[in-house]
Symmetry: C2
Subunit: 306 residues, 2 copies
């Protein structure tokens, strides 16, 4: 069932930048993408088609998407908050579009001002629009956020997450993403939930999106690897922080995640030294942002061939 | 074979303080011990019987040991570098004494100026001295440092580690400690090595000592838990850094380790809020030291009853 091939999807340009008040230019964003591709990264969530009045950083979403599509060998994707955003994304011809709803109804209401059930119907409309407009080459990924707990509602029932996964598959999702949006997950919970998710998804790819807010990010990746997950989101330099816990870390760090994989013989195809070079440029572009990461501080071990 | 009872041994007073240039008074060290015990921690490595001219912080080792022995319900232990240090430790009546040698001969030579083989014979003399002086109530723990790799020698053969474990058991070790002194371990390696160590140790307790130098500390704990390890060293606030990688983190952080355990239903008996209070005092005592820890930054999740 398992392979040693790992897919790392860089989400710093979306989940990272949405927390950042300094604007990067379209050209800077595309330089980041090009250098990530040159470092061996083949999947990048390049932007979000959220309205510019909500997140001004993404006002250039269509330009970034089109620029990223010109990078050879890169699977470029974007987040969309609703049908309108999806329509804008489809127009660019992106290879993949991500739609996310929250397992916590309270979180979903706060985030997109509609219930989780309404968000499922919204996703169904997105699939229908894509199919009817003849854009089936764009894969539709459906994500379940706050799948391991919620800062608003607290506990989230595993059965609610699994039920949502079933509904999203039934709607026509091409991929399922499971997100620990607020850094509540623990390894035992990850093993249990992801095993059950995999029992529903058949041949469809499943990706885990972990945050390191409470220090368990790579422990949770380890648990997910155990049960066969081979796809992970991460953010270069851990860029992004956590909107729900000031001063706390956000997404798991790309270079540390790649190190976790490569050090134990799993293959990401990504060069860590090249990542550290890109990280250095980012710290210059975004001097006021906190960057995380152990490998950037301590360096690679002598034993490591990556 | 496995239980959900976890033993956390606080090593901040030894592995942490040995890196710290600010002196804590004997009374401060004992206050730390007393408050850790009140927080539910029952095992503390309270000091090191290394000569004061090598680490001045430990000039009060005997006083700290005697003071810690007066704390009800606490298993107090200390590190000893050689027979002379062990004799000083035995005089205090400590419940446990730790002796550590390095699987990397190069590291051992650098650290204690003798070969690993000579260190094994030194440990044999310590056991003999203890037995002949009628101090069998002091348990002798033998640790293998650089068990997952070495900053001097690079790769360390697993067979060399296992051979040392066998020799130390044959000498009469009451406990085996396996240490990732420089933060080189990865989860796959931890599972493989620790499974093999456990196949040698029978009923003797086995403890893992991980550093978080390259960000994999809690991922490695997760891997060790998987194969049945239930004892771990950690340092409050991650105090200590890493002598081999400036600016890098050192020991895994106690409060984050307790969170990792309790969040998945494993029982440490330790109260995280009480740990955060002690950590606060430590940051006041040692204002120039770097402290690590995600829980201290982000807080406990709403879902967590600990």
């Amino acid at each position: 069932m398992t392979t040693d091939q790992i897919h790392i999807r860089e989400v710093g340009l979306r989940d990272g930048l949405q927390m950042v008040s300094t604007f990067l230019s379209t050209e800077q964003k595309l330089e980041w993408c090009r250098r990530m591709r040159a470092a061996g990264c083949t999947e990048i969530e390049v932007t979000s088609f959220v309205p510019a009045h909500i997140v001004a950083q993404f006002a250039d979403a269509a330009d970034v998407a089109r620029g990223a599509l010109a990078i050879e060998g890169l699977k470029a994707s974007a987040l969309v908050p609703n049908l309108k955003g999806a329509q804008r994304a489809f127009e660019t011809g992106l290879q993949q579009v991500h739609y996310v709803l929250s397992a916590s109804n309270e979180h979903n209401l706060k985030n997109v001002r509609r219930s989780t059930a309404e968000s499922v119907e919204d996703f169904r409309r997105i699939v229908k629009f894509r199919d009817e407009s003849g854009q089936r080459s764009t894969a539709l990924s459906a994500g379940v956020a706050t799948a391991f707990g919620c800062t608003v509602a607290g506990r989230v029932d595993e059965s609610a997450v699994l039920d949502l996964v079933s509904q999203l598959l039934e709607c026509g999702a091409d991929e399922i993403a499971i997100a620990d949006t607020v850094g509540y997950a623990n390894p035992a919970q990850v093993r249990r939930l992801m095993r059950n998710v995999l029992s529903l998804t058949g041949d469809k790819p499943v990706i885990c999106h972990f945050h390191d807010t409470r220090g368990l990010g790579l422990a949770n990746v380890t648990a997910a690897l155990d049960v066969g997950i081979r796809r992970f989101d991460s953010s270069l330099g851990g860029l992004g922080g956590c909107p729900f816990a000031p001063n706390a870390t956000g997404n798991i760090n790309t270079e540390d995640t790649v190190f976790l994989m490569e050090s134990q013989g799993l293959k990401t195809g990504i060069d860590i030294d090249a990542l550290l070079d890109i990280r250095k440029t980012l710290t210059e572009w975004l001097p006021n942002e906190p960057f995380t990461g152990a490998i950037a501080r301590a360096g690679l071990p002598k034993t490591c061939a990556v």
